[in-house]
């Protein structure tokens, strides 16, 4: 890496760095940073912490059979043991190792939340793009359905759907899919509405692009980023909702080592704090990590909240 040229500082992308923030030192830092050629989101320490936690949890989810000290379903003679040298996080009411169950929990919550977020982002974005691009009746129908879903608090609607389909993890994901696509549809629709009348889109249409090609080639690259940020922020939410449904007994069924269901075990034996404490911490760390990364991504997209207005005070 060459030394940064401090005499001729390279400013950041002007869109990211509004003139109000332009102190000379800041520009120099910008010069050093831009030489590192990292996406700006990862320069933030909080984002790095978040990303590390996420990476660790995914590693746990993949390699858990080699990491966990016990089988998550194996029952030992010592039931409800407090944390100790053998069972670091103690044992539950059936004598199962809480540490192993918490680690195995990553194998359940992470993939399901990933499926949920990706699927609702795709469904919501496609519907939103169709609504925004074609407008009129299509727009009305799709967005009114979205309004209807928005008219219910998430978990109550998800509860009704899960109850209707029968409690299981798969049905919990389907229920959450049902309630979580509209936010993507709204964002996508407003982005597409904004992009639709841009010159380059109109030019494409005049050249005879089909609506599909126009959406895919001209519009999508310009509207993908906000949806990506929304999805990152939504991941934490998905974990919270999934574990919430399992906590209510509408998701994972015993003996699945699901975090929310494990916390529910802790309600039954609430004097034995370790039953609920560790799976709850697991949920918390994953959600915090995704929120940290999502925040950093959003800040790097939206310069107004990213520090461009530094120094404004009353």
């Amino acid at each position: 890496m060459s030394r940064p040229d401090l005499q001729n500082p390279v400013p950041l992308d002007p869109a990211l760095d509004a003139p109000t923030a332009g102190a000379a030192t800041r520009l120099r830092f910008a010069a050093v940073r831009s030489r590192l050629r990292l996406p700006s989101a990862y320069r933030r320490p909080m984002a790095v912490i978040g990303f590390t936690i996420i990476a660790l949890w995914f590693i746990v989810a993949i390699f858990v059979p080699w990491i966990a000290p016990f089988d998550p379903l194996a029952q030992q003679f010592d039931r409800l043991q407090p944390p100790g040298p053998v069972n670091w996080f103690g044992t539950d009411s059936l004598g199962r190792d809480v540490l192993s169950r918490t680690l195995y929990g990553a194998r359940i919550s992470l993939p399901l939340a990933l499926i949920l977020v990706v699927a609702s982002a795709i469904i919501g974005s496609v519907l939103g793009a169709i609504a925004g691009y074609f407008g009129r009746a299509v727009d009305e129908v799709i967005m009114r359905v979205a309004d209807l879903v928005f008219a219910f608090p998430t978990i109550i609607l998800a509860m009704i759907v899960t109850a209707a389909l029968g409690p299981s993890l798969t049905n919990a994901v389907i229920a959450l899919l049902f309630v979580s696509w509209p936010s993507y549809a709204r964002v996508m629709r407003s982005m597409v509405l904004g992009a639709r009348s841009r010159e380059y889109v109109v030019a494409g249409r005049l050249l005879g692009f089909s609506p599909f090609r126009s959406l895919q080639r001209d519009i999508l690259p310009n509207v993908a980023a906000p949806v990506l940020v929304l999805a990152t922020l939504d991941f934490g939410n998905a974990i919270l909702l999934l574990s919430g449904l399992s906590f209510l007994g509408l998701g994972a069924t015993p003996p699945t080592p699901e975090w929310g269901a494990m916390v529910a075990d802790g309600v039954q034996n609430f004097s034995d704090w370790w039953l609920a404490a560790f799976p709850g911490l697991a949920i918390f760390t994953v959600v915090v990590a995704f929120n940290l990364v999502g925040d950093a991504l959003r800040d790097s997209l939206d310069p107004r909240t990213a520090g461009a207005v530094q120094g404004v005070k009353i």
């Binding site: 008219a151 219910f152 609607l157 009704i160 919430g244 906590f247 509408l250 309600v267 207005v309 009353i314």
Partner: protein
């Protein structure tokens, strides 16, 4: 903007705007009935079996009688029209579990949740908007970073887990908080006026009951406040930051107004629309949060009732809960829309 002369002679733009919003809300409520009804009819499990138990369900005559009594033997469209007709008579059907009219069950559960939710939303707005504004004014300083961490924790912590932890620490270990429920077992509920125990106790002059109800309210309330405040701090911070950049704020400062005057008359007024939007959203997630918190604190509100009826396939009760919660949510958003129109004249002419 061209002014149309054919506008109704006596309706000002504000009245017209409120009327349109009201119409949309009514349509949405109809939509909600459609959603709850459709979902309740999606049930692949047999509600007759769930309600009657296995032995009775093996007798075809009993099942047929149950289906007829519940109207399950009629075509779906007829069932829906019957449902709507009954709704207009204030009849939500009979719970298959408690065998009470659903309206009666809800009239007990609803005020319990309302008391909790009102307590939380009032405190959250005061604390959340206050802290959010403070953080925005001290952007990137210590206070801002501190609140950022607090609000991050607030929105990331699983509500049900926090509720359990609070219960364990403050009830089981420290004995500061009273146990589950809305009142201690030794006390009787105050005579019903509003159904909110704290208010009713004050009305009846029963101060012991009032303090007892309040002390039961505090712990579940604080759990939910942390979550709601987390949301409100983040969004009011960014709403205030947006306004701080506006030229009219600079102008207000330049003409020498005091800080307080600039904040309250210019900044908060300008930021009030996005903040209101978030209050509406926060109210929705608050209703979701209460479901999980009520479960831990044995609150006996809508959330616990919804859970009980959802797990026992008590269809009339499930539909009742969905309807009530949906209507409350729509009404809240209607009120917020009206306040929009009152605050910001630009909204009215759209």
């Amino acid at each position: 903007m061209p002014v149309t002369l054919r506008r109704g002679p006596h309706l000002g733009p504000l009245a017209r705007y409120i009327l349109i919003r009201f119409g949309i809300s009514v349509l949405l409520i109809f939509g909600v009935t459609l959603v709850t009804f459709t979902l309740a009819n999606l049930v692949p499990a047999d509600p007759a079996q769930a309600a009657l138990g296995e032995r009775a369900a093996s007798d075809p005559a009993i099942v047929a009688a149950f289906r007829e009594a519940q109207g399950l033997d009629k075509p779906v469209v007829t069932q829906y029209l019957l449902y709507i007709a009954h709704l207009f008579q204030g009849n939500l059907g009979t719970s298959t579990q408690s065998h009470n009219p659903v309206t009666q069950d809800l009239s007990v559960a609803f005020p319990a949740t309302a008391e909790l939710a009102l307590f939380v939303i009032v405190f959250s707005i005061i604390i959340g908007v206050g802290l959010g504004t403070w953080a925005a004014l001290r952007q990137n300083r210590f206070v801002d970073q501190l609140f950022r961490v607090v609000s991050l924790i607030g929105i990331s912590i699983p509500t049900f887990w926090l509720a359990l932890a609070a219960f364990y620490v403050f009830f089981y270990q420290l004995h500061w908080a009273p146990g589950t429920g809305r009142l201690s077992a030794s006390l009787q509920a105050p005579p019903k006026v509003t159904g909110l125990y704290t208010v009713d106790a004050l009305v009846a002059g029963q101060y012991t009951t009032f303090w007892n109800a309040l002390s039961h309210l505090i712990l579940p309330g604080l759990v939910l406040v942390l979550f709601t405040v987390g949301l409100l701090v983040r969004f009011s911070r960014s709403a205030v930051l947006d306004v701080l950049n506006q030229e009219y704020v600079l102008a207000a400062r330049a003409k020498g107004l005091s800080s307080a005057a600039v904040i309250f008359r210019y900044v908060l007024r300008g930021a009030s629309l996005p903040i209101l939007t978030i209050v509406g959203l926060a109210f929705g997630s608050l209703l979701s949060g209460t479901v999980l918190t009520e479960q831990v604190f044995g609150w006996g509100g809508i959330g616990q009732y919804a859970y009980k009826s959802a797990t026992t396939l008590d269809l009339p009760a499930v539909m009742g809960v969905g309807l009530v919660v949906g209507v409350v949510y729509i009404l809240t958003n209607f009120i917020i829309d009206v306040v929009y129109g009152v605050i910001d004249p630009r909204v009215r002419v759209q």
